[in-house]
Amino acid sequence: MKVIQLYKNESKLIKKAIQNNREAQHVLFELHAPKMLSVCRYYIKDKQYAEEAMLNGFFKVFSNLKSFKSEGSFEGWIRKIMVRESISFLRQKKNIEFPVEEVEIHNDYTNNIKTEIEVEQIQKLIDALPEGYKIVFVMYAIEGYKHQEIAKTLNISEGTSKSQLFKARKMLQEKINKLNTMSNGTN
C-alpha cells in the first residue's frame, strides 16, 4: 500500500530526487529497477552485466533528472536511457556485428507462440541470436522503435536495420518451431 501511495506521488518523488534527496531516489529505484533490469537483460545475456548496465542507467537518470520534462512517462524516459546504456555496454565489450549472409525467405510464421514456451525460453532464444539481430529485434519488436531511430542509434543504414530485423525474426521463428515440435514429440 505504501508503495502504491508513493507511486501516485511519483512527480513529488521526482522533484525531491532532483534535489538529491537520497530517500526519494531510493524509492524511485525500488519502483523501476526490476522492470529496467529486465529491459537490460533483453540485450545483455549475463545478469550481472545487465545489472551493471542498469546501475549505470540509473546513475545517469538521477544525474540528469533536471532534464526530464514530465512530457512523457517517467518509465518511458528511464527505459530509453536503459536501452542506450545496454547498447553502449555491448559496444564497450566488443564491436557489434551485423551479419549480412543471405537467409532463405519462408513466410511460415506461427500465428501464436504456444503458451507452453516460457519467458525464460524466449529470452534464451533471443540470447542465442547474433548481437546485431538481437539488438534490432528487441528495439523494434519490444521497445517499439522505428527503423529510422534504430539506424541512428546503431550508426547503420535503415536497410541494414530492416534486413537485421527480418533475419532475427526468421531465426527466432525457426527455433520456436523446433521447440514446439520437440514439446509436441515429448507429449
Binding site: 526490476p34 533490469l37 545487465a50 545489472e51 546513475f59 538521477f62 525474426r169
Partner: protein, 259 residues
C-alpha cells in the same frame, strides 16, 4: 500481419517479466551518487578558484597597465609640448629678430639722444628695456633689466620733478650726476647683452638655415632613389637582353645540330 503477431507475442511474454536486482545494487548506486556529488562540489570549488584567479589576474594586470600606460602616454605629451616648444622658440626667434631690429633702431636713437637730453634718453631707455623684457627669456637679463628699469623710473620721476619745478640745487645736481653714472652703467651692461642677444639670434638663424638645408637633403635622397630605380630598370633590361641573346644562341645551336 504474421510478423506483427509474432513480435507482439514475444513482447507480451517478455513485458510481463521483472527481475529483482541484487541486494546491494542500491548501495552501489547511492555510493556512486555520493561520490559524484562530492566531485560536483569540488568542481564548484575548482571553478570558483578559477574565477577568483581570473579576477585576480585582471586586477593585477589593470594595476600594471595603469602604471605603464601613463608612462607610455607621457612621452607623447612631452613630444607635443616639445613640438609646441619648438614652435614657440621659432616664434620667439622671429620676435627676437624683430625686437633686435627694433633695439638696433632704439640703440641708434639712444646714442643720438643721450648727449642731448636726459629725459628723452631715459624714456627711450625705458621703452627699450620694456621691449627687451618682453622678448627675452633669460632670467638674469630680466632681473638686471628690471633693476635698470627701476632705477630709470626713479630717475625719470625725479628728473621730471626737477624739470617741472625748475629748481636746481647742488644736492640734486650731485644726485643727478650719480644717477647719470648709474644709467651709463646700465646702458653699458645692456649693450653687451644686446650684443649677446644679437649673436644668439644669428645662431638661431643659422640653425634654421641648417634645418632648411636638411629638408633639401631629403630631396636629394628622393632623387637618389629615383636614380636607383632607373638603374634597376636598366639592369632588368640588361638581364632581359642577355636572356634573349642566350635564347637565340640556343635556338641557332639547335637548328644547326639538326642540319
Amino acid at each position: 500481419m504474421a510478423p506483427i503477431n509474432f513480435d507482439n507475442d514475444i513482447k507480451n511474454k517478455l513485458e510481463e517479466r521483472t527481475i529483482e536486482p541484487s541486494a546491494n545494487a542500491w548501495d552501489k548506486l547511492s555510493d556512486r551518487l555520493d561520490a559524484s556529488e562530492q566531485k560536483n562540489s569540488k568542481k564548484g570549488f575548482f571553478w570558483l578558484a578559477i574565477a577568483a584567479s581570473i579576477v585576480g589576474i585582471l586586477l593585477v594586470s589593470q594595476l600594471f597597465f595603469k602604471n605603464t600606460l601613463p608612462n607610455n602616454s607621457t612621452p607623447i605629451i612631452v613630444d607635443t609640448t616639445q613640438e609646441s616648444d619648438t614652435e614657440k622658440t621659432i616664434e620667439q626667434t622671429n620676435k627676437e629678430e624683430v625686437s633686435t631690429n627694433v633695439e638696433d633702431v632704439l640703440v641708434e636713437k639712444e646714442n643720438s639722444l643721450i648727449p642731448e637730453e636726459k629725459k628723452t634718453s631715459s624714456s627711450t631707455f625705458n621703452n627699450k628695456t620694456q621691449v627687451v623684457e618682453l622678448n627675452i627669456d633669460k632670467s638674469n637679463v630680466k632681473e638686471r633689466l628690471k633693476k635698470g628699469e627701476k632705477i630709470n623710473n626713479l630717475n625719470t620721476s625725479e628728473i621730471t620733478g626737477i624739470n617741472n619745478k625748475e629748481q636746481q640745487s647742488e644736492i640734486l645736481l650731485a644726485q643727478n650726476e650719480t644717477e647719470n653714472n648709474l644709467i651709463a652703467k646700465v646702458i653699458e651692461v645692456t649693450d653687451t647683452e644686446i650684443d649677446a642677444l644679437l649673436n644668439r639670434a644669428k645662431q638661431d638663424i643659422v640653425k634654421q638655415e641648417n634645418q632648411s638645408d636638411n629638408t633639401i637633403a631629403l630631396d636629394y635622397n628622393e632623387l637618389l632613389q629615383d636614380v636607383e630605380d632607373d638603374l634597376e630598370e636598366s639592369f632588368r633590361d640588361k638581364m632581359l637582353k642577355k636572356v634573349k641573346e642566350s635564347y637565340y644562341t640556343v635556338k641557332t645551336v639547335v637548328a644547326e645540330r639538326n642540319d
